[in-house]
Symmetry: C2
Subunit: 352 residues, 2 copies
């Protein structure tokens, strides 16, 4: 009802919770002083951490139950409704909060959010989307692990959602979309990829569809949105992380290999800090569980307060830019076409 | 019959052929002076390039036909037998050469090599394997694109072949094996992955099976052999390449961003060259088409003479270390077990 923006936070999710969550909230408060927070978790542990100046922005709701890292999604769905994560999602469902942020168990978060928030009309399967650094700036990649196997219509939905996500988060007027494959020729890849390619190419989706892209196009920033299944996306994202670490190790070895190199490092230190900054995983922390009736942002479990504050920032940006309204509009528009694409055909609207 | 080692080279394959091939052969000749070469291609273009001192090591066989980069595998199989690539493979089939190296069209090379050389007994589907740089040295990854979709038994075969490959090429006594997945828990991933995991875990394969690994384990060198399907492997390899380029770009920007940084760069230049060297794609050039009755090495199409010489080196190493004999022995041993693994069961021996 009011104009104020409330976020619900799973205060117990993440390796360094609840400290990291509360400190992240404090950092976010400096950037978004108007945001209110609903905190869910162990009151005895959380209350002492909330600083005086934030008291009027924070409502604390106690629960003893916590979803652990090894809780299976099925267990979470069965028994996790009164956990800090479950209650934080419920606050969005009940309209108390405009979005939820959790650094807890990804599988449990997706399963519970899917059950409680339901998918958006026209969307069959939600996905995990995030921002990644590229040579040309930043791109969006999805799915990153929600769907191990996909059909063509799922990939088309990911493209539609990713496009809106890029407009909201990167501010691009018309983001370009690419389907991740192992070659740019039409005959490469799986049946699902070739069929999704055909739909995206032939249907009047009002989308700047680039076609197939390959693994090296991710870092090159060839497209603004890289669409793939959750298995491939997860492997690609983690491979990129591993390669960045490998490169960092090689650099460290090089700078330590001679006196000249060590002096060179000292002189270039300030500049090199910028590289670290540009590739800092905390900067890209905050993956969106996209396709649900509610903004649900997953923070990396091992992140610190700075990373968690960035995840809060992602939620705020997406809420302010009305991500879900715009996905809904897009799906409605496409479903109303004389020849609707399979992804947003009435049948899948009904099943959603 | 003789002790001499002969390699057949597709002199027309690659962006910079035939110059690059002949120059690569010259570099390789310095490292392996005893190797003989059967060169296939356009005699008028190749003959003038072969230097006098190599004449007694080289036999040139003329053909006008070349497989181009956009030739489909099916076309190559139908009409490519008299191409430089087709004849170079045939030389291995006929026992004239111990192995073939080509920088031409990968799909065509795989299709023709599979048809002419056939798969090894016990191996259902050949794969593409290569060496990759890691924090801990070097690892092997396969498949990199031969099999877009796989069954559990294919993954098990890749593990067996990759293990022998690592012993031959990296010299590890007992290499560790990991299955690439999106989580280390047993319930993650596709059915094929879970089933392959079960077989590798339960059967007495005499293999150091680590279990599931994730994308960031590739660069970390967590295992010596990363086993995956051709789609995921191809995306992962190219994503790593793209990330390395991204990092290089960030570094360049940083070193150019201030006078101090520029001076720092000059001082560290020699040391930084080592990083370039360690990540030089030419150093890792030479992917093996593994699982065939014959050594078949694919060089990157865009490589230069140094890269092509390394691909020749891979072929020489694998021939000398009797890669295929050892894979055959391994498969025979496993097939003779009272409870043979599905991958090397008699039925697949017959179908191979």
């Amino acid at each position: 009802m009011s104009e104020r923006l409330t976020l619900s936070l799973d205060a117990m999710g993440g390796d360094h919770a609840p400290h990291m969550v509360i400190e992240g909230m404090q950092i976010a408060h400096k950037r978004y002083p108007e945001v209110h927070y609903l905190l869910f978790g162990d009151e005895r542990r959380i209350a002492p951490l909330v600083p005086q100046e934030l008291r009027d922005r924070v409502t604390l709701r106690h629960t003893d139950q916590v979803i652990s890292g090894d809780t299976k999604p099925s267990q979470a769905v069965r028994a996790g409704r009164t956990s800090s994560m479950g209650l934080a999602i419920k606050a969005v469902k009940d309209g108390e909060a405009a979005g939820v942020v959790s650094a807890g168990n990804t599988g449990a978060l997706m399963a519970m959010a899917k059950l409680m928030l339901r998918t958006l009309p026209g969307i069959d399967r939600p996905a995990i989307a995030t921002m990644i650094p590229t040579v040309r700036g930043e791109s969006i990649m999805l799915d990153l692990g929600a769907n191990t196997e996909v059909q063509a219509n799922n990939l088309v939905e990911f493209a539609i959602m990713g496009e809106v996500f890029a407009r909201c988060l990167l501010g691009h007027v018309q983001p370009s979309i690419g389907l991740l494959n192992i070659g740019s020729e039409d005959l490469k890849g799986t049946d699902a990829l070739r069929e999704a390619h055909r739909i995206l190419r032939e249907h009047p989706l009002n989308m700047r569809f680039h076609g197939f892209v390959e693994g090296d196009d991710i870092g090159a920033g060839t497209v603004d949105v890289v669409v793939t299944d959750g298995f491939t996306g997860n492997v690609a994202l983690k491979t990129a992380e591993g390669t960045a670490k490998l490169y960092t190790k090689f650099l460290k070895d090089a700078f330590g290999s001679s006196l000249l190199a060590r002096i060179g490092y000292l002189l270039a230190k300030g500049a090199l800090a910028k590289v670290r900054q540009r590739t800092d995983p905390r900067r890209y922390n905050g993956a969106m569980l996209i396709g649900l009736n509610g903004i649900c942002v997953k923070s990396h479990g091992g992140t610190d307060a700075v990373g968690f504050a960035n995840a809060i920032g992602v939620a705020v940006d997406l809420i302010r830019n009305r991500l879900n309204d715009r996905i809904r509009e897009e799906c409605t528009r496409l479903a109303a076409q004389p020849d609707p694409v399979p992804a947003v055909a009435p049948s899948s609207v009904v099943s959603g």
